[in-house]
């Protein structure tokens, strides 16, 4: 229990520090928002007045604390460009990004588990070698490049799937699914390569364990023993790997959103950066970074809770 509390304290501390870093970084951006807002013929007096109006003249720490206070109560401030609530701006986009990350994770797992297992079991055969080589290559391919070719093949040549865009699923679940297939595939392919390589190593380890031999000795086949005993043993450490990969996935999603014109957090972030909309930039970056930290924390805790061998120490 004490350990968990210490972990929690560290977690809270890292959230705080991350928010401070982000606030400092965005406030350090040159390209004064006031003059950008006022356009091309603004007078210095008007710019100064606008800075006061936006509260940019007050001390850094005061502004930081006010912002943080708002964030904690769910208010990320208002956009400097269009005066809209940042929370309202982020919320619908968070959903798109969430789908991408969620399905990207599930998709990559669904791909990686059989592929990695196959590569491990057949590692001394040509087909197993080819599969590991393919995953090694998949690791080296930029996700957006894969995305571009997926579009060319499936959207333009074959016309099976939409090339981009997004339909919320309460409008049409079928369209929603169709629009997500290509981006999720592009994300999953690369992600699956990372995970499948981990699965391969982990499965090879399992193949050498005594409990695997025991399972075989009571009558399981290789695949059956892996499914029944191998998977549950690697799933815990796999969870850690997948959790740590979420950061990569979130970033991959930023570029993939760009390729497929998806209205997620990443494309909104890029727009806000070009508009110098500081409040939106720091809001989105904070959401992304906190999400990564939260997932890392949860994975850490889950690891303690799920592994029966560690259970005694954790409680």
């Amino acid at each position: 229990m004490k350990r968990l509390l210490i972990r929690l304290a560290w977690f809270a501390g890292s959230l705080l520090l991350a928010s401070l870093l982000i606030f400092a970084a965005t406030n350090w951006l040159p390209g004064d928002i006031a003059s950008v807002l006022l356009g091309t013929n603004a007078t210095p007096e008007a710019v100064a007045a606008k800075r006061v109006e936006l509260g940019l003249d007050r001390p850094f720490l005061v502004r930081y604390l006010e912002w943080l206070g708002g964030v904690v109560s769910g208010d990320f401030g208002t956009s400097m460009i269009n005066g809209r609530s940042v929370t309202a701006t982020i919320a619908p986009r968070l959903e798109v990004s969430l789908w991408l990350v969620l399905f990207g994770t599930l998709g990559s797992l669904l791909l990686a588990l059989p592929v990695g297992t196959f590569a491990a079991v057949r590692r001394r055969h040509l087909d197993g070698f080819v599969v590991s080589a393919l995953s090694q290559i998949g690791l080296a391919v930029p996700a957006f490049w894969a995305g571009i070719w997926l579009v060319v093949l499936f959207a333009v040549r074959l016309q099976w799937l939409p090339a981009g865009g997004y339909v919320p699923y309460w409008e049409s679940p079928a369209q929603w699914a169709l629009h997500l297939i290509l981006p999720v595939t592009a994300l999953s392919i690369v992600q699956a390569s990372v995970i499948s390589r981990y699965v391969r190593t982990a499965v090879i380890d399992v193949l050498h364990t005594d409990y695997f031999r025991t399972a075989r000795a009571i009558g399981w086949g290789k695949v059956g023993a892996l499914w029944r005993h191998g998977l549950r043993n690697i799933s815990i450490s796999l969870l850690t790997v997948v959790g740590l990969q979420v950061a990569t996935l979130l970033v991959g999603a930023i570029i993939i959103e760009q390729v497929f014109a998806l209205p997620g957090l990443g494309s909104r972030l890029l727009l806000a950066v070009t508009q110098r909309d500081l409040v939106v930039v720091q809001g989105i970056v904070l959401v992304l970074v906190w999400a990564v930290l939260l997932i890392n924390f949860l994975v850490d805790v889950a690891y303690q809770m799920l592994d029966p061998r560690l259970k005694r120490e954790a409680t």
Binding site: P30, T40, G83, V156, G165, Q258, A261, S267, T274
Partner: protein
């Protein structure tokens, strides 16, 4: 059981997300499900997003593109042939001393909330600008306006400082919109209040702006019930969306190289026209080297403009030699003034004292045409001994550094405002260019009679070309791709508006 537990956890998570998403309000009446399949919806692909909804105070072409003539109306409007036509005003007259315009408003005209468009509304709208509101461009357009008065309920009088031929045209720009005086000025940036056939529906910054039909519209109702402007950060994504049938119109193809994708005439109609967007290689005329006319002219001679168009814009786009697009009455073809002649360029550079070479910074915004044009120009200028260092800035930063602070040697940008020959006369322009002779000609043109308006501007344009304060690279083409069933597309873009009221579908 751990695996199963993890799966359960994921399932619960998924369900939670679904529930959260489901409970979101689903956009009111704009749902297609509400009124069945008869609703006519137009999906428009676009690239430049509005930064805000108040055209008076927000810079950039994105806002008028969506709102002008669709949501907001002006007293008068330019048609496809650049003639001034009635809109809110049925007729108007000018006093003999050309200092006063009197506009008679359409008695039917009313705002979306049902209140009438009367003289008081015009006064309120214009007075806001006279009182100092508005972007530099808006204020520039209304600079000649001295006072605005309501004569009768539906008659309004505009008094000018001096006669101005430009003023009537200025009334067709965003500066001339008539805003519902009942609306709170501070809220205009989110909720426009106009008299046009559409009202602003949903606005999702970064992805779409939707217009819904104004059911109370006073004039001829438009064909479409709903128009969605879908924004694409990457123009290629817009093309693929069109190819996969998600769009009805690409409002302006910004990857002309890809026009071949729409060659199938049974599926697509391509309209190629012109815009008022002159793509300029702008010089900082206060730079010691570029202050010399010989250097500027040398650069003109050093650049093969057709090669620039070919590389940067797929060969689409007319070559122009001045700030006047073809179609204007004062247009003259000056594109041969500086033929491509690297030897001549080297000579001129030597004359100016730069025989041993010259290094210049080229700071370009990250807009589709600028970086590729920069790459092409860099290679060509190197051939005559000018080393070019390219720096790409995102648009906000470019506006700040180049456009506002004037900190650059050369830049590339399109000037899309109609009739922007005037900008060279504007004080404190980002080109650091000032030529009293040119200013005088422009003033004479603005204040003179109709002949003077045309002739003096011709003269001014020639003077400008000879002085070469910028290199006019080419005129941006207006390439609109539609599905074949859409009628009413205006090929040439003569205003800042994407006027959807003209469009109809034979479907």
């Amino acid at each position: 059981m751990r695996v199963r537990r993890i799966i359960q956890l994921l399932a619960v998570l998924l369900a939670a997300v679904m529930m959260v998403s489901c409970s979101r309000p689903s956009g009111g009446s704009s749902e297609p499900s509400d009124q069945g399949a008869e609703r006519k919806v137009l999906e428009v692909g676009a690239t430049g997003e509005p930064a805000g909804m108040d055209m008076i105070t927000v810079d950039g072409a994105g806002t008028p593109f969506v709102l002008l003539y669709n949501v907001y109306e002006t007293l008068v409007k330019l048609d496809a042939e650049r003639n001034v036509k009635p809109l809110l005003a049925t007729e108007w007259e000018m006093s003999p001393d050309r200092l006063t315009y009197t506009f008679h408003l359409d008695p039917q005209a009313k705002f979306a909330d049902g209140s009438p468009v009367d003289a008081a509304a015009v006064v309120a709208s214009f007075q806001r600008i006279i009182d100092g509101a508005g972007t530099g461009q808006v204020k520039g357009n209304f600079a000649p306006l001295k006072a605005v008065r309501a004569v009768e309920d539906k008659v309004v009088e505009l008094e000018l400082h001096a006669p101005s031929n430009y003023f009537l045209l200025s009334l067709t720009t965003p500066a001339g919109i008539v805003v519902n005086p009942a609306a709170d000025v501070a809220s205009l940036n989110e909720t426009p209040a106009g008299s046009g056939p559409y009202q602003l529906g949903e606005w999702e910054p970064g992805s779409k702006v939707s217009l819904v039909r104004n059911e109370q519209y006073w004039g001829t109702p438009p064909h479409y019930d709903e128009v969605n402007f879908r924004y694409y950060a990457d123009p290629n994504a817009m093309n693929t969306a069109m190819l996969s049938g998600q769009l009805d119109i690409i409002s302006n193809l910004t990857v002309p190289q890809s026009i071949g994708q729409f060659a199938d005439t049974s599926k697509y109609t391509v309209h190629e026209g012109v815009t008022d967007g002159e793509v300029l290689l702008s010089f900082n005329n206060s730079n010691p080297a570029l202050a010399k006319r010989e250097v500027r002219q040398a650069i003109h001679h050093a650049i093969d403009r057709q090669a620039v168009v070919d590389a940067a814009w797929g060969g689409k786009g007319e070559l122009i030699g001045s700030m006047v697009p073809p179609g204007e009455p004062w247009y003259e073809d000056l594109s041969d003034t500086y033929p491509y002649d690297p030897e001549k360029a080297k000579e001129l550079l030597a004359q100016a004292g730069h025989a041993q070479g010259l290094t210049l910074r080229l700071r370009v915004p990250s807009l589709p045409y600028a970086p590729p044009a920069a790459r092409s120009i860099q290679s060509q200028l190197r051939a005559v001994g000018i080393e070019v260092e390219i720096e790409e800035l995102d648009f906000a930063r470019w506006l700040d550094v180049v456009f506002s602070q004037g900190d650059y040697d050369m830049t590339i940008v399109a000037h899309v405002e109609p009739r922007d020959l005037r900008m060279f006369a504007r004080e404190g322009n980002y080109l650091h260019y000032s030529n009293p002779d040119f200013d005088k000609l422009m003033q004479e043109a603005d204040e003179g009679d109709e002949t003077a308006f045309v002739e003096k501007q011709k003269e001014a344009a020639r003077l400008l070309t000879a002085d070469a304060p910028v290199d006019w690279l080419f005129l941006l083409p207006n390439i609109i791709v539609t599905t074949p069933d859409i009628d009413g597309v205006q090929a040439d873009q003569t205003s800042l508006s994407f006027d959807v009221t003209l469009l109809a579908s034979s479907r």
